[in-house]
Amino acid sequence: MTRARNLGIAAGALCAAWLSAGCSREAESFTPPVQKAALLVPKAGELGYFLTMADPHADAYIVQDVAPSGPGTWRWVYDHPVLQFLVPAVPRLKFVMDFSLPERTLRETGPVTLTFSINGRLLDRLRCEQGGELHYAHDVPPDMLRANAINRVAVDPNPVWVSKADGGRLGFILSRAGFTE
């Protein structure tokens, strides 16, 4: 009996030791690994390939005809908005834009056509018949872009909404625009 009990205790202790080896909740620690090549992301405050109106440095991307301020995440653009981007050497890019056409202005203007030009060359035309939040994406032929240089993008709305009260002219609401893969 004693022998059996001792064997039982030994087996129990072995099991406990075994399980406790795996049960430890003490966090393991490691050294920093080999650093990998960083991906292309513009640094905050510098001109890059993508504009969000929430960016405090958004003005750096604006060349003309964009409202000087907005509520934070969007701004109105006017007749001939032009943006500029520093475009890196990347094999295949799309121009994308998140924008809105308010139902109220669209009711008065009718369908709006947006004409996209890059560095003075026509990229595309988009006819918008419905309002609301919209997303635009279009492949950009590589020869339209200057790699590692500033590229200008014009997005001309036609027609624009004209205020009967003060004659103010509004194109569309811009949230984000730029180049992506």
Partner: protein, 716 residues
Amino acid sequence: MQALAIFFGALFTCAVSLAIGGLLLRDACRDAGVRFVAGAAVLSLLVFLLCAAGLAYPVIFAVAGLAAVAIALRRGGGWGTFGGGIPAPRWLWGIAFGAFAVLYLSNAMAPEISPDGSAYHLGLVGRYLREHGFSRPESLYAALPGGVEMLFLWAYAFGRHSAAALTHFAFLLALAWQIFAYARGRGFAVAGMAAALIVFASPVIGIDGTSAYNDVALSAIGFTLFHLLQIWDESRDPRLLWAIGLTAGFAFAAKYTAWPALVYAVGFVLVKQRKAVIPVAGSAALLAGPWLLKNWIYVHNPLAPFYNQLISNSFVTVDFEETYRRLMALYHLKSRWEIPMQVTVHGTLSGLLGPFFLLAPLGLLALRKREGRQLWLAALVFGVNYFSNIAARFLIPPAPFVALAVTIGLSAVPHLAVAVAMITAVLSWPAMVSRYADPAAWRLARIPWHEALRLWPEERYLDRYLTYYDVDRMIEAKTEPDATVFSFVPVPEAYTSRRVRVEYQSAANQIAGKILWTALAPEFVPTWRLRFRFPEQAVRGLRVVQTASGGDFWSAGEFRVYRGDLEIPRTPVWRLTARPYPWGVQDAFDNSLATFWICGEKLKPGQFVQVDFHEEAVADSVELEAAPNQWAGRWKLEGLDAGGKWRVLSPAPVASDAPRPLGLRRAVTQELKRRGIDYLLVFDTDNGADDLRLNTDLWGLRAVGSAKQARLYRLE
């Protein structure tokens, strides 16, 4: 020729098991069913040891098996007793058993098409044979105990897939025989015959027992243990004790859910004869222990893939286990009250036992007899874990005990048990089952004799009945022999020699899947920036601590420390850690937005990612670069001061968005390659399948093949 190889593989496995069983039990038990199962336990251990030693070669199996048979024959052990004592009406029993035997034999011999058998039971077996032993598990299924799969491996070495299924069928025969043999020995021959037929004919037992699964084998092991205990209780032959322990250990080695078998065996002998515990517990440990040890060595969790909260490890995340357990506990049901009809009649929980089992409460009538009480105790032992996985096949282990209790209960009325058994057999025939079961219920449907004897090509049958067999063919044709393929969808790994890493099957695979989504799903793109600012000061360490609770998760792409506008370079003296899941913390400090640390558990206050500088560093901000798919998380920054105390430096970060990084797709591809993946198998229904198809150049992929529903890409 192939049919002969199949027969040989299965018969050789059975012969070796019977021979070992005969050597083990000698005259203590001459029942062939008991000897087969007890011998199979030892054979399973032998194959495990050969796999552990990297010696899983057919020639070694052949020599060892022939030696076992030769020794058994020389010692005159024989093959044990089988048959005899069949009660009247024999012709009726013969027709009933014979019809199902033909159905089962043809299906067991036909090419293996069962979901789990073709996906992982035989996928693993094939891998063990190709690699001549075990390797570090890449799938949670490889961490489950594989006691029965060890026998499949032995059979597979000679007859491939169908030999393994046929070996499983031998367990079904051993089970049915023992139900009868046990009952006959206690004066219930008719009830035993009826229960044996009811179990034998059960639709889910039929399809499981003729596939490369292990539920019927476990059921046979369970009944053998019960049978051995009853025999020992009557004879007290000490030779039986080793067989009892080995069989109890074999039950655990077959499936974790059978752990109560260990308690049952030890408890039973403890009550009857205390000294008998040592051989029982010792021999049970001999069978069960190696599987725990294997997991401990490979994945640092003896009970992998479970109990990850208790035994933390990098192999399986706590969250996955919770999700898995939740899913297995209810499947698609709205309530557990649906279970009785589903597992007996409808069959949408992986098959049906048959309507007979709705009569289970009648088995309580048998409680008046000692045998009935013993049967119900065993049913409880082998059914107690059922609610951890409510699939019908998880009721196969207790089913024989219940069936026999019912038929003993019905024995009070002459011929009633026979009539019920015959009605059950009729209702269990495939043509009848299709009249009342759900059309999608897992069950046998035909007698594929031509395919069983390989008179018709195996390929045609597999192409028709095995989902994604064409995908396997594509993988075999388009990849190198040592290639590793990543997929979100499991494929029949039994029919490809390539390593297939399925997303959900381990933490490493889940992380690889999330890395892929980093460039596919907008919410996974690391565009979120969380900036913690604090007065410039010297600190010895910094950590971002999560403070919220909830069902969400969090992750960190990069953890950067700044002084002014300059990032403080990471140095080798830094020590990084995280809680939970510390093993991935380096991915938050590798300068790559394609990788990230994952929490692996739902949000709980106190989870953190930490850097210890091991010296003082002057800093004034920390930025976490992360994906925006973690809205529920709340964070604060703590600093380690010179006194070794953590103090809050910033109670909350300022969040902002950065543009999507350029080159992210290619970085993801490179990272997956770094993690050992050579090919992506993408099904048309996978999220992002179109992006991969349309942007192969941006991903750095090359399309190398396509099947009906999937495409294969090589990572360049």
